[in-house]
Structures are given as structure tokens and as C-alpha cells.
Amino acid sequence: MLWLTCPLCGRRPIDEFTFGGERRPVPDWIEGDDARNLDEVWNFENPDGVTTERWFHAAGCRRWLTVHRDTSTDTVVA
């Protein structure tokens, strides 16, 4: 079981959280408003490695937190 450290509640099991998706900028090489909007809405970096993502502590303090997670092993880093 994966555990996340909530700044308010401490170390809690991942069942208490709702996944809020990866945080990523639209790559600079994508040009034009439509293409950038499309990328922002639909595409994912889907990295095989460390990713920055948002989680919502739904069954706890109901705050959003930022998590760095390694997707190749599904472990939380730093």
C-alpha cells in the first residue's frame, strides 16, 4: 500500500486521497493557441519516472497537496 504524507494529517494510506492528475506545462515547441489548448486539455506527459502530481485528501483534511512520485515503481519520492 502506498502512503502519502499530508502536511496537516501526517502519513496516511492512499485510500484516503483522490488522484488529481499530473502537473505539467504545455511544451514550448507546441505553437498556436488551438494546439496549446488541445495539449493542455487532453494530452499527458505520462512519464516513466518521477512525476509531480496533485492529490486531494478527501477522507481527511480535504486539502490539496503536491506529491512527487516515481511512476516506474509507484513509490513516493521526497
Binding site: M1, W42, N46, T71
Partner: protein, 402 residues
């Protein structure tokens, strides 16, 4: 030992050539089926399927082998219904015993709301050719006597939709049937050869870089599962796909026969019996994306909780094996097949938790697209540019996996 122990099928493995008309990355069901239909339907045999590990070692060998067509949008129902019919004829077509068995699938509803949406799906599915009817709790008990209709006192069963021609087949045999059929016609299947990059000529993709050297290709098709985002990125293609793990497990043999496939609108779990008598159980994919194929105790606990409420006899069985696969979940929960906007580079991806049932129709459609340069009507709606055209095929409710 029993009669299901496989006899050895000698396959002739070829050394890779330096160039092919078509290179397919990924030796799973979709890659092999595309090669098979290129060879049999279109006479295109200068084709290589390049697999990083052994064929069907990815999600083709890890899924729960359910073949059904009861989806939520007409485009999907027509496509999967065609695939279901192709599966029914696959043993006759390939001459390979894929252990196809029509079982029917009951999809349980525990709330009035779920009953309403199942009723709507029955009408829509039947109208599109995938016969589905509503059944009462008494009829469910007749179809599957092992069900506890009170759901352990917690999830009472109010009714279900019954998808009559749902089936299962032996997954690795499906891959082998397509592989041997394609290889017999001259297609090269190259195992244990990871594709590390794409060869570019300007904007065009003109081949693949492998661990053993470059291979030129007129067309490159990505049929990979799990690593498609990284491969597509090498062509400058970005995909609306996230890769999530999905777990499954089997129990020891259940002495009675368990006739239908049981699925659930609320608990997102599905249970069937393998041809060896084991109970095969899967459920929702993990909330967070990951490429890890390490299954977990958390998954066992959550899946067991769900299915033992519906089928209490499972509590007396023992878990033999558990495993995980990598599911490419597309943003709208429908597959992505066809052109990418980059010349020479096609994808068949976004197969999430619904890829096995689509292997014949997906392979046939992609083969026709490669041979003619035009997507056949059945797969045309699933093109990648649907997101830019705002023709999204939202069908999450029909996946049964989240």
C-alpha cells in the same frame, strides 16, 4: 496432467532483415493480428512484428480474457460486436484451438439508477446488434446459483443486464494463432528485441532503431501497450493516454461449473471461470498512473472484499497467483486507432482495460488502413484527431473498471 497442456508448436523464427514494408512495434494481440490480416486479407507479407520480450508477454497475456460488445455508444458497440463475431469464427479461420467459449455476461445493478442505465444500455446494444436483455433477481439466480442476491447484506442485487453472447478465450493461444498464421505466410516475428527509437527523415518516420540495429520501414505501426507515450514522443506525437496498473488473480480449482461471466456496475469487479476451473477475478485499475507491474496486497484485499460479497463461495477458495498489467487509459476511455499526423507513423493504442476483446477487429481494421491508406468505417471514429475535432467518444461507464 490434463488435455489442456499444450503440444509444442514449432514456429520458424527469422533473423531480422534491414528493411520491411511494414514494421509493427509490439508482439501482442493487436500487433500480431494486424500482421496476420495484412498477410491474409491484403497479401502484404514483407512485414515484421518486433517484440521487446516474448510474444503476448505484455497485456495480451495478463488480461482476464472477456469478450463482450455491450458498450455505451453506437460506434463502440458496432466495433466490438464485429470483433465478438470474428472471435466466434476464429478457430475455423486459423485452425488453432483458442478455447473460445460463449458464456453470457450478467452485469449486476444494485441501485435504481444503475438499473435505469442498464435498461438504456440493453436497448442501445440490442439496436446495434449486441443482444442484451434485462433479467430479474430470480432469473439471475437461475443463471448463476452461486450469487448471494443480498450482496452480503450490503449490496442487494436489484437486477442485471444479460449480454447473451459474451465469451472467453485462452489469451496466449489467440496470440499464437495470429503469430503462426502470419509467420506461415512470410511475416517475420522478432522477439527479445526492444525498439529504442524511431528513424526520421525530416518529419517522416522511416523505420525503427532496435537494440540490434536499425530497421527501415515504409510504415511503422505502434501496437505497444504500456510504453506507447514514450515511443510516440520520439515521432513528436503527444497522446491523450495515461498508463495505469490493473491487477488480477486466480484461485485454486472450483469443483462446480460457474456458467456466466459476472460483472458489477457498482463494485467494478468481474469474475469468470477459466477452462481449468480456476476462478479468475479482476477489478478496477489503480487511481494513479504507474508502469509498475508489481501486484499488491492492497489490490488483493480490495478485490476480495468486493467479489466475496457477491459470491460468498469464493471465501473458501485459495488465491494461487496474482499479477498486474499496464493499461493505456485514453482520456475518453475509447481506443485510438489510425493516423497520427506524422507520415509513416500509425498507432493502435488506448486499449486500456478493453483491448483483448478487440484484437480481431482492431487488427483487421488497422491492416485495411495500412493496405489502402483509408480507415474502414468501423475504426474511423476512433482516430486520434477526434480530440481536436471535438468528436470525443466518452464511454467510461462501459469499461466496468472504474
Amino acid at each position: 496432467m490434463n488435455g489442456l497442456v499444450d503440444t509444442l508448436q514449432p514456429l520458424r523464427w527469422d533473423e531480422p532483415k534491414s528493411a520491411y514494408d511494414v514494421v509493427i512495434v509490439g508482439g501482442g494481440g493487436h500487433g500480431l493480428a494486424t500482421a496476420y490480416y495484412l498477410a491474409t486479407r491484403h497479401g502484404i507479407t514483407n512485414v515484421a512484428v518486433i517484440e521487446a520480450d516474448y510474444i503476448a508477454s505484455g497485456n495480451t497475456g495478463r488480461n482476464t480474457t472477456i469478450i463482450r460488445a455491450n458498450y455505451g455508444i453506437p460506434e463502440a458497440v458496432r466495433f466490438y460486436e464485429h470483433s465478438l463475431e470474428m472471435y466466434e469464427a476464429l478457430e475455423a479461420e486459423t485452425g488453432a484451438a483458442i478455447l473460445h467459449q460463449t458464456k453470457g455476461l450478467i452485469w449486476l445493478a444494485h441501485t435504481e439508477m444503475a438499473l435505469r442505465s442498464e435498461r438504456a444500455r440493453c436497448l442501445m446494444n440490442t439496436a446495434c446488434g449486441a443482444e442484451t436483455v434485462m433479467v430479474t433477481p430470480a432469473e439471475i439466480k437461475e443463471l448463476c446459483p452461486q450469487i448471494d442476491l443480498t450482496g452480503g447484506g450490503r449490496y442487494p442485487v436489484l437486477g442485471a443486464s444479460h449480454h447473451l453472447r459474451a465469451a472467453t478465450a485462452r489469451h496466449d493461444r489467440v496470440a499464437w494463432a495470429f503469430a503462426s498464421g502470419a509467420m506461415a505466410r512470410g511475416v517475420h516475428v522478432i522477439q527479445h528485441t526492444p525498439v529504442t527509437g524511431l528513424l526520421r527523415d525530416g518529419d517522416r518516420v522511416v523505420g525503427v532503431q532496435t537494440a540490434d540495429g536499425p530497421i527501415a520501414a515504409g510504415t511503422v505501426l505502434s501496437a505497444t501497450g504500456g510504453r506507447v507515450t514514450a515511443l510516440a514522443a520520439k515521432a513528436g506525437v503527444r497522446l491523450p493516454v495515461r498508463t495505469h496498473p490493473l491487477h488480477a488473480f486466480v484461485t485454486n480449482n472450483f469443483a462446480q461449473s460457474f456458467a456466466p461471466i459476472v460483472s458489477d456496475t457498482e463494485l467494478f469487479c468481474y469474475v469468470s471461470q477459466t477452462e481449468r476451473g480456476q476462478m479468475l477475478i479482476g477489478a478496477e485499475f489503480d487511481a494513479q498512473p504507474s508502469y509498475s507491474r508489481q501486484s499488491s496486497f492492497a489490490a488483493l484485499r480490495s478485490y476480495s472484499y468486493k467479489v466475496s460479497h457477491l459470491l460468498p463461495f469464493l471465501r473458501n477458495l485459495r488465491i494461487l497467483r496474482q499479477w498486474a498489467g499496464s493499461c493505456d487509459i485514453s482520456a475518453d476511455f475509447s481506443p485510438i486507432m489510425g493516423f497520427t499526423g506524422v507520415d509513416g507513423f500509425l498507432v493502435t493504442t488506448g486499449w486500456g482495460t478493453w483491448g483483448f476483446k478487440a484484437i480481431p477487429a482492431g487488427g483487421e481494421g488497422m491492416a485495411e488502413l495500412i493496405a489502402t491508406g483509408r480507415p474502414p468505417a468501423l475504426i474511423a471514429p476512433f482516430a486520434l484527431d477526434r480530440f481536436a475535432r471535438d468528436h470525443v467518444l466518452a464511454d467510461q461507464g462501459s469499461t466496468g473498471t472504474r
